[in-house]
Amino acid sequence: MKELLLGNEAIARGAWEAGVKFASGYPGTPSTEILETLAKHYPEVDSQWSANEKVAFEEGMGAAIGGLRVMVTMKMVGLNVAADSFMVFPYSGTNGGFVVISADDPGMHSSQNEQDNRYLALMAKVPVLEPSDAQECKDFVKLGLEISEQFSGPVMLRTTTRLAHHKGLVELGERAEVPQRKFTPDAKRFSVPIYRTLLRPGVEKRIANLRDYAETTPVNRVEWRSGQPGEPPTQGSVGFVSSSIAYQYAREIMPEASVFRLGLTHPVPPRALKEFCAAHETVYVVEEGEPFIEDQLKAMGITNLVGKSIFGVIGEYSPERLAKAIGLNVPEKPDFGKEITVLPRPPMLCVGCGHRTVFDSLKQLKVTVAGDIGCYTMGALPPYEASHTTFCMGASISTAFGLERAGHERAVAIIGDSTFVHAGIPALIDAVYNGSSLTLIILDNSTTGMTGQQPHPSAGKTLRGKPAPKLDLEGLVRAAGVKQVQVVDTWQRKDVARAVRSAVGHDGPAVVITRGPCMRLPEMKLSERGERPYFIDEALCTKCDACFKVWCPAITRTSAGFPIIDPVECTACTVCAQMCPVEAIGPMC
């Protein structure tokens, strides 16, 4: 039976069919739906969100050494967090099959950088599989586990945004129950660095063996359409070497050209590739990201290549972009923007989002603010412009500490509850230990809002919705040595402003926890809370426009110039009513 599946759903299905018993990860676009799908549809797989990617990776590593088939998921920057364990795991190698999903984001649709994680695999000497459609997303998980077991090492499955977030037809199969392998404690293999020198040659041996495997595996497939192996190249013959979604684009723009489709891109098969390239006059190397395959081909001495010099390394590929680069005839796309305003429509804080009050108060205080990774990165944009740095998970606190050392005495760090648990805790402990007076605002919305409301340790439930011991943020912060800790209702404008002002003025480190669940959590629906949307009484309204200062997307203007609240959108967060000087705003009867 065939079903239309998202690339990520297909990966989850692949893990289930391949008999995976344990799966862990941390949410991050474009990887998030993999674990969500596993948790929702496949109870046979013990799946969980972990506190961060390093923890997820190591839990998976333990489960694999313990003899299970394991999958670990994360976005590309997540693997940076787990890089420590990713680099050492190949030394001991695995026992049960182990596949780590690295979801790269060319074009940075929802990321702070572009990075091609195949280089991390190259550095760790880990093989890389790159599926090119939803069917292969499923199949390659199984293949990855088989390779992992055959070569006793971890395997990376690299996807990109377009692959993870496209839907295609997938042939469904049944689950294979794979027996657990026996774990035998072996100090020389699993412990004590003094033995590591004994393991080092094994890492090289594995990659050499994989190189031989790459020559024969069917996922490295030649699709001949012009020229033939062993024959001299046809005049002007063109071939492609490609992987991942870029392979589909190559097929799309030049269906008559031969293609060497690489499913295993590290290590690549030197003999087969040399033969293919020799059979064509020009070989286009088409891969999203960096010249990872191209450089491997160049290192083999192949010279008739055209790659990054015309396709570029920045941003996402598309059939249009590749066709233009090659010089094919592409229909011109008119640019209407020269003659009519095509206004941008950037994402904004959701209706009812509790973070608004925080940005309002920070803007008024005119302090230097170090931001972090989450919905609240939007605080850097108009109308707030009240967040001044964003780097990576947990960096707000340590950056604010550094800014403070550089003389910005009233530096403030803002961080979400999920990000705080992920990477903020050691940074706070360090700042307090090293004598900081920074203010930390923990935007506690009881979820991981940015990636779609995933639970985490301070949300008090697991991925499967099971109640879990709720991390006590206040207690944790106090345990780190912070004396001034305030907890406020995030929708109470004045309370938030007062708390933030007090924290900034406090001599010593201070923490404000602004608490209020994300309005997009199912339990926060108006009907669930038994509340009514707010409305504006035109008889009382003086058109002073104070309510517009909430920047709530649900508030628009009538043709008569009165503000009006969209009752479908309104979440009854009350903030606009708090702004109104004449009490014209209140709940509908």
């Binding site: 065939k2 839907k167 295609g168 592409v330 229909p331 305003t341 206004l343 950037p346 944009l381």
Partner: protein, 214 residues
């Protein structure tokens, strides 16, 4: 038969992804190879949302190339304008919900909003069909089903899928509680656009889309 290229565009919260998914499912039901892609990520409401759907005997790329879309469906006027340059000028068309949602966080957005976008695009030679879908949806009792009215209208322009295929797809996908209203909205759009359907893609004959033929 060649690949059919569709783009759905709107504002977060309007139901763009639902009608794209319904279209992809209908195409699967009709026996086509299908690929669909959409913008995920930042989950906030209020931003631009787009989804591409391609179906045919074999589909490679999930992305529609500019100038190749058979139909671009805009659930909002500005979003229709934003993706209008994907329309195939020879045989494609733009279906747009004549409804305005002013971007919230852009300074001076209300003044700069391109109210005359539809007339402008017609002036550029585009085949544009404006539908007061949001108003009709309110008349039906729920403004949110504007997306289903637009889907119904689009369904009349994609004769590769029969009405039975659409109805079966909708019935399967839409929860029973909302089914009657959504089917009604779909029919409203479909009967509006049916008279327009004759000169559109399936009968357009020539296929200027194939990049390889140059």
């Amino acid at each position: 038969m060649n690949t059919t290229n569709l783009i759905f565009a709107g504002v977060g919260g309007q139901g763009v992804l639902l009608i794209a998914e319904l279209t992809a499912r209908a195409a699967v039901r009709a026996g086509f190879d299908v690929k669909q892609t959409e913008v995920h990520g930042v989950s906030q409401r209020g931003g631009s949302v787009e989804s591409h759907v391609r179906f045919g005997p074999v589909v490679y790329s999930p992305l529609v190339t500019a100038g190749q879309a058979d139909v671009v469906v805009g659930l909002e006027k500005l979003e229709g304008l934003r993706y209008a340059n994907f329309v195939n000028l020879q045989c494609g068309s733009l279906l747009v919900n004549d409804h305005e949602i002013i971007p919230g966080s852009v300074a001076g957005a209300a003044e700069k909003y391109p109210h005359y976008a539809i007339e402008f695009l017609r002036g550029k030679g585009l085949k544009v069909t404006a539908i007061p879908a949001s108003r009709w949806a309110k008349d039906l009792g729920d403004g949110r089903v504007a997306n289903m009215i637009m889907l119904g209208a689009m369904s009349a322009l994609t004769p590769q899928m029969s009405e039975e295929v659409w109805l079966a797809t909708l019935t399967e996908r839409i929860p029973e509680k909302y089914r009657a209203l959504n089917l009604k909205a779909f029919e409203t759009g479909r009967s509006f656009a049916s008279p327009l359907a004759s000169p559109l893609p399936a009968e357009a004959g020539s296929d200027p889309k194939d990049l390889s033929k140059n």
